[in-house]
């Protein structure tokens, strides 16, 4: 029968799915991409098949080069790097930039010869694409149109990123039965602490309960920008996105006892000077990409002469060290996730947002969801995040409600591994994919409703 798609290979009959599936977790900070296929892999794809690609286009004024996507890892000098991100607030807004990144990562010649092995031909690949919840409808339409018309994928499934977590192995230690690939966990409350924002999504058998999805507008990006502001009080780092992100990842943690920690890092007033606690206050040596390729930190040393250090006097090997002292910034910055009112944001902290989401569910389900809380997302890698969340929830809720909070083993790649396990089960993935033929026949409204989970017309 006449086929609508004209540009692609004729070997695929319209209702067949391609052998390989590209699972693309399209985050604002990084893309997590990898292949999975039901035929060759009886075991679900291992996490090492997931490649993390920076989702940005970066321009370095020092090299006069523009790095697209995966090329950023080849950059030698991350100083003064200007970023442009096609994903805004979690949704792909700028398709021009995103197309360039996708091409460079998956479709171009360079991608095919890259060591990552992500090169593929879209006509022979299915695509699982993730998006953030509550997307404006026109953005969803744009995404569908771009995937089918522009890139020409054979079949495609667009879903909420959080839903794929239900297919990943359960992180709760008390689960004795392992769930086979393709079968979602029954009930799960996913907290995705991502780059643009933090979303809370209750899932039932992998399908989201839409009325209870809540979003907190603090994400890794907010924390990085706040840290930039705080460090710039002493040393101007407003243009050093990459370096401040590294500082945040190295040095920041979530404190369980915020007032006590704040006391430890205070220099004291005029008449009662205090000693800084060197267990908490650190000196961070900034990288200069000549001798120091990567920043590092050491406990604070009050007697060092910073100006000498900057000139290279007194350091080992005579290198010039620019040192920034970080005291309470280490824990006041992540504190924003739990108390957004610290910068004046009129939103409840993470714990109360979780409770708002849970209270939006019918009464009978609340206990079930409070007992199955999964934390994913890069921001949850901060030390102390999960403990603090659990402690706050525990104190906010009745005595006899059970609360179990667990962080996924690989918070960054968990959505991807869920998608990989879904793609490994042929029946499940066939049930959700929409082929190009169906898209051409039924139109985009049908496709959008299908992706939203409505089974009927």
């Amino acid at each position: 029968m006449a086929r609508q798609k004209s540009l692609t290979t004729p070997t695929l009959s319209p209702n067949d799915l391609a052998p390989r599936t590209l699972i693309l977790d399209n985050g604002a900070h990084t893309l997590k991409a990898g292949f999975s296929s039901p035929l060759t892999d009886p075991a679900p794809a291992t996490p090492s098949a997931c490649h993390i690609i920076p989702n940005c286009i970066a321009r370095s004024t020092r090299d006069r080069r523009t790095y697209i996507g995966p090329e950023l890892t080849t950059c030698a000098d991350y100083g003064d790097l200007a970023y442009r991100r096609p994903v805004e607030k979690g949704y792909i807004v700028n398709w021009e930039g995103e197309k360039a990144i996708w091409e460079r990562s998956f479709f171009s010649k360079d991608a095919h010869i890259d060591g990552a092995g992500l090169g593929c031909d879209p006509a022979e690949t299915n695509l699982i694409l993730t998006e953030a919840p509550n997307a404006p409808a026109s953005l969803q339409r744009n995404a569908d149109e771009m995937v089918f018309e522009e890139f020409g994928f054979g079949a495609y499934y667009r879903t909420l990123g959080s839903s794929l977590n239900a297919y990943a192995p359960s992180p709760f230690p008390s689960t004795t039965t392992t769930v086979p690939a393709g079968v979602p966990l029954e009930c799960l409350l996913v907290i995705d602490a991502g780059y643009s924002h933090t979303t809370i999504t209750p899932l039932h058998h992998g399908r989201p309960l839409q009325t209870a999805i809540r979003r907190l507008e603090i994400g890794g990006k907010t924390l990085t920008n706040r840290l930039k502001e705080l460090i710039s009080r002493t040393f101007d780092v407003h243009r050093e996105d990459h370096i401040v992100e590294e500082i945040k990842e190295d040095v920041c943690y979530v404190s369980r006892t915020f007032p006590q920690d704040l006391e430890k890092t205070w220099k004291g007033g005029r008449y009662d000077g205090r000693e800084l606690d060197t267990g908490v206050v650190v000196d961070y040596v900034l990288p200069d990409y000549e001798h120091i390729k990567r920043g590092f930190y050491r406990p604070h040393d009050a007697h060092v002469n910073l100006r000498n250090r900057a000139l290279g006097i007194g350091t080992e090997t005579g290198r010039r060290e620019h040192v920034v002292t970080l005291g309470n910034e280490r824990f006041t910055v992540p504190e924003l996730v739990f108390t957004p009112s610290d910068i004046g944001m009129q939103q409840a902290g993470l714990c109360h947002t979780v409770l708002q989401s849970v209270n939006a569910l019918p009464e009978g389900l609340r206990q079930a969801y409070l007992a199955n809380i999964l934390v994913v997302g890069g921001t949850s890698l901060l030390p102390g995040f999960v403990e603090r969340l659990e402690a706050e929830l525990r104190s906010a809720v009745d005595e006899d409600t059970v609360i179990r909070v667990a962080r996924a083993e690989d918070p960054v790649g968990n959505v991807w591994s869920g998608g990989a396990r879904l793609a490994a089960d042929e029946a499940a993935v066939r049930g959700v994919m929409v082929t190009r033929q169906e898209w051409a026949e039924n139109g985009e409204g049908w496709v959008r409703r299908r992706f939203a989970g409505k089974k009927g017309r």
Binding site: A100, E217, T265, D342
Partner: protein, 301 residues
């Protein structure tokens, strides 16, 4: 002929002693609309001592006007913090000859020029559009305000209502499964004899869920578990339309929470004293000196 001091015949006028007529000084106190009484013109003073000492303090409108400015300031700062691209970065993507033209060969189809611009009319438009997320959001809100429902959804119950930016949790009197904004699930009753972990795993035992007996005991549920939703209710929940972007935003904390904490601008410790001129908080005299020298906004005023 007149015999008294008055030469003409006038009616008898007698001045009664009142407060005003006694030794009148030639002027009178008149009630004039002052700055205090005309809230439309007066935004209130920023000087805290004057506001405290002035008669009756500041009116509600004055306080509102002052806090509106402070709010705008905070919102601007927050928007800056949530800024996606550091400063106004314009990085050209497709104009370089070497790198992305190499991508033209691999995609399959199209000449070099057509490939960059997009294969079909629709994709050309998408690629060329310079809309930011704020544009899309505004478009969606406008669409909802116009037609009362989102794109591609079935008729929503009720007429076209103005898209509300109030998060779901803050709305009053919404029917259906709306969120209450009390943090503690006070409706969760004490879990009686059946231990909770067991119950959690048997909640969705089989598709025809054994909930009929529990449904009847909604009212007197002191010893019972809260009733499970029926499978029909679950389906309705799962098929509910997704919230709009603004509806899904988390709501402000409940009013019972302590007021927002302030920190010292210079060092980050607790803010203990407010600068009288610019309103920023500092923790100690040392930090205040630093603030005065370089950070106080009223440095030149």
């Amino acid at each position: 002929m007149a015999t008294g001091p008055l030469r003409f015949r006038t009616p008898h006028i007698e001045e009664l002693p009142t407060a005003q007529s006694r030794q009148s000084a030639g002027f009178a106190w008149v009630a004039v609309s002052t700055a205090q009484d005309d809230p439309a013109k007066n935004w209130g003073t920023t000087n805290r001592k004057r506001a405290r000492a002035s008669l009756g303090g500041q009116t509600e409108q004055q306080k509102e006007a002052l806090s509106a400015r402070a709010q705008r300031e905070t919102e601007r700062r927050i928007k800056e913090l949530n800024n996606d691209n550091s400063r106004d970065v314009v990085i050209e993507v497709a104009k370089k000859p070497g790198q992305s033209a190499g991508g033209g060969g691999g995609g399959g189809g199209g000449g070099g020029g057509a490939f960059k611009a997009g294969k079909t009319a629709g994709t050309k438009k998408i690629l060329a559009s310079g809309k930011t997320f704020a544009h899309f959001l505004d478009d969606e809100e406008a669409e909802i305000a116009r037609t009362g429902r989102r794109e591609g959804e079935v008729e929503a119950p009720g007429a076209a209502q103005r898209a509300s930016k109030t998060p779901l949790a803050r709305r009053k009197a919404r029917e259906g499964s709306s969120a209450s904004d009390s943090p503690a699930p006070s409706a969760v009753v004490a879990m009686g004899p059946p231990p909770v972990p067991r119950a959690a795993s048997t909640y969705f035992a089989a598709e025809p869920m054994p909930v009929d007996d529990l449904d009847d005991d909604e009212e007197d549920s002191e010893d019972q578990l809260p009733c499970l939703p029926t499978s029909a209710e679950m389906e309705a929940l799962l098929n509910a339309p997704p919230l709009t972007y603004n509806q899904a935003r988390a709501a402000p904390p409940p009013a019972s929470m302590p007021p927002p904490r302030r920190f010292c601008e210079t060092c980050g410790y607790w803010g203990r004293a407010r600068c009288m001129k610019c309103g920023a908080m500092t923790c100690s005299v040392v930090c205040k000196d630093e603030h005065d020298q370089s950070k106080c906004l009223k440095m030149y005023a």
